[in-house]
């Protein structure tokens, strides 16, 4: 399969972030067209395109928009989730920094379709300081051109966008955590139902969409649902950005019709494994996705096929690990991440993630016990599905899959008190650890 340039069409141009470059490539035509349509027509179009959310869950975008009640007592809100913090994921950053107007146009169309009130927010992770600056500049340009503000494009639709910077919390990528954080609270997810589409931010119906999802919308309006469905397979349609990182020769963001073969992606487009070592494991969808073994990677990277293979496409953050990586150490690092990022609201997740980190650390230090591998599985069983949001479920993904697939390596750590020969630990064990 050949790489395509749809979402990434502009990124290599000089001054790609400027409104002039965007207009030269036909930008904002779709927004103009959409404002002449009925909102329900746009929603139907997005439904017909079978676009699924690119943030991780793969929920059909058109259906989500359809859930927004008409004539709700409080205003409806559109929020853009740019809190990209899943380890292994760096695709939204490319759109934000290189083609911000594509995102803005997608937001204008989406806001019009769901009947959003005149203000909308881009929740961008606090660390993306440069990205936030690029967005602010792009918003200024769009306001100057009359694409944002009162009566945009000469219609009677008022719409503006505010960039809201997060402050370093992975949990704020979770939709209700994001809503809480936007309201000025700690980003602790809410009980659902009510779902955000009914009661979300500031008490109004709320649609939260990922950057890449919103970036797909102008193309659907401009070129039609059938064109969009020309990419990928039924139920898994459209162009998709894949982020490849870890032990590969050419890491980076690659765009393909959704459903590129994982093996082909790693060995042909990314040039294979660093130093031509052997592949050990692949995490196909960001840190939360269960690991795949080398014989399992001959599969199409779309939501349904990766699910069938026992993992998930998630945010398409593909982390490649070669044979020299100690799997216990790698999983410890992910466990440490989830322990750090657990918001502390639900006990199974708050306590469980910390315990998993401790157990993996003691195995790595040669202090593991015979029953530790099973203990990890037992703990995972006590975390999964027992908390308000998906962070707990995410935390156990890499643990369960690695214990099942690399049990011998775990046991080696207990019996030999060292890593498997030929594998490497990347950190020193004598470093003092800063508190969470």
């Amino acid at each position: 399969m050949q790489p395509i340039k749809v979402l990434t069409a502009n990124i290599d141009k000089p001054n790609s972030a400027s409104v002039e470059t965007y207009l030269e490539s036909g930008g904002y035509a779709a927004a103009r067209k959409a404002l002449g349509m009925k909102p329900d027509e746009i929603i139907q179009l997005v439904k017909d395109s079978e676009l699924r959310g690119r943030g991780g869950a793969g929920f059909p975008t058109g259906s989500k928009w359809g859930f927004v009640p008409k004539n709700a007592p409080k205003p409806t809100w559109l929020l853009c989730n740019a809190d990209e913090s899943e380890p292994g994921t760096f695709k939204d950053r490319v759109i934000i920094e290189k083609d911000p107007h594509l995102l803005i146009e997608g937001m204008i169309i989406s806001a019009f379709a769901i009947g959003s009130n005149p203000m909308s927010y881009i929740y961008i992770r606090g660390e993306f300081h440069y990205g936030a600056m690029v967005l602010e500049k792009a918003l200024e340009e769009a306001r100057a051109k009359g694409f944002l503000g009162k009566g945009i494009f000469g219609s009677n639709f008022d719409f503006d966008i505010t960039v809201h910077r997060g402050a370093g919390a992975y949990i704020c990528g979770e939709e209700t955590g994001l809503i809480e954080s936007l309201e000025g609270h700690r980003g602790q997810p809410r009980v659902k139902p009510p779902f955000p589409a009914v009661i979300g931010v500031f008490g109004g119906p709320t649609v939260v969409q990922n950057v890449e999802t919103l970036a797909c919308v102008p193309f659907i309006v401009d070129k039609g649902a059938e064109w969009f469905k020309g990419f990928g397979s039924p139920k898994n349609t459209g162009p998709k950005l894949y982020c490849v990182s870890g032990n590969v020769k050419k890491p980076g963001v690659y765009e393909f019709p959704i459903g590129v073969n994982l093996k082909e992606l790693i060995y042909e487009h990314c040039g294979g494994i660093t130093n031509d070592r052997k592949l050990k494991a692949v995490i196909p969808g960001g840190a939360s996705a269960p690991m795949l073994l080398p014989h399992e990677i001959d599969l199409a990277l779309n939501f349904d096929d990766v699910m069938k293979a026992g993992s998930m496409l998630g945010s398409a953050g593909i982390i490649v690990l070669d044979e020299s990586v100690c799997i216990v150490d790698a999983v410890w690092r992910l466990a440490k991440f989830f322990a750090h990022e657990s918001c502390g609201q639900c006990t199974p997740c708050r306590e469980g993630t910390n315990w998993m980190e401790s157990i993996l650390d003691r195995m790595e230090r040669g202090e593991g016990r015979q029953q530790d591998a099973d203990l990890l599985l037992d703990m995972a069983d006590n975390i999964g599905g027992k908390s308000l949001c998906a962070l707990g479920d995410a935390a156990i993904g890499p643990v369960i899959s690695s214990v099942k697939k690399f049990r011998d390596e775990y046991l080696h750590h207990v019996t030999h008190k060292s890593c498997l020969p030929g594998t490497k630990r990347y950190r020193r064990l004598d470093m003092p650890v800063a508190a969470h």
Partner: protein, 176 residues
């Protein structure tokens, strides 16, 4: 009362010093007033106001917590609850250069820990600490969303990508 550990919420350093009350200068006040116009509730302006305060004073001191609370009609406890939840709000002063090394998986397998350990050793600090001259703070941080150009080190607001120990030394020489 015996001196309490600084992490203890009742420790003396956690309370504002009445002699050191703070206030935004006119420029910052103008930016704060603009922030307020962008949100339907005052409370929603808390995160951006704290970012602004940190730009002004470098960290969120107990005095700043009280001041921000008074601006937004929030109790100091509410503000402090938010400050302590998010990573990016510094609860103690940091050095002129805040060296934040991402060590998450993609960075780890491209040797980010070598950079991190090298920095701690070279600057003679433990993780999270600041050098005696107040110039550098070294911290290990979670994924910065730059895995394709790993390892990445964030210095204050700027990303430095595709780093290694040698490049880190070169960068450090420039950060005076």
């Amino acid at each position: 009362m015996a001196d309490l550990h600084p992490d203890n919420p009742y420790a003396k350093v956690r309370f504002p010093d009445r002699g050191k009350l703070v206030e935004f200068l006119p420029d910052a006040k103008k930016r704060f007033d603009h922030i307020l116009t962008r949100y339907p509730t005052k409370e929603a302006a808390l995160l951006p106001t704290l970012h602004l305060a940190q730009e002004e004073w470098g960290w969120i001191s107990p005095e700043v917590v009280h001041y921000v609370g008074s601006l937004l009609d929030l109790s100091p406890a509410t503000v402090f609850g938010v400050v302590s939840f998010y990573n990016m709000y510094n609860q103690k002063p940091v050095g002129k250069y805040h060296l934040q090394v991402c060590t998450n998986l993609s960075c780890m397998v491209t040797n980010a820990y070598d950079i991190y350990e090298h920095l701690c050793e070279k600057l003679g600090v433990n993780p999270g600490e600041t050098t005696g001259d107040g110039r550098y703070t070294v911290a290990e941080v979670e994924c910065l969303g730059s895995c394709g150009t790993a390892p990445v080190v964030q210095v204050n607001n700027d990303y430095h990508e595709n780093m290694d120990v040698r490049k880190m030394d070169e960068l450090l020489a420039k950060l005076k």
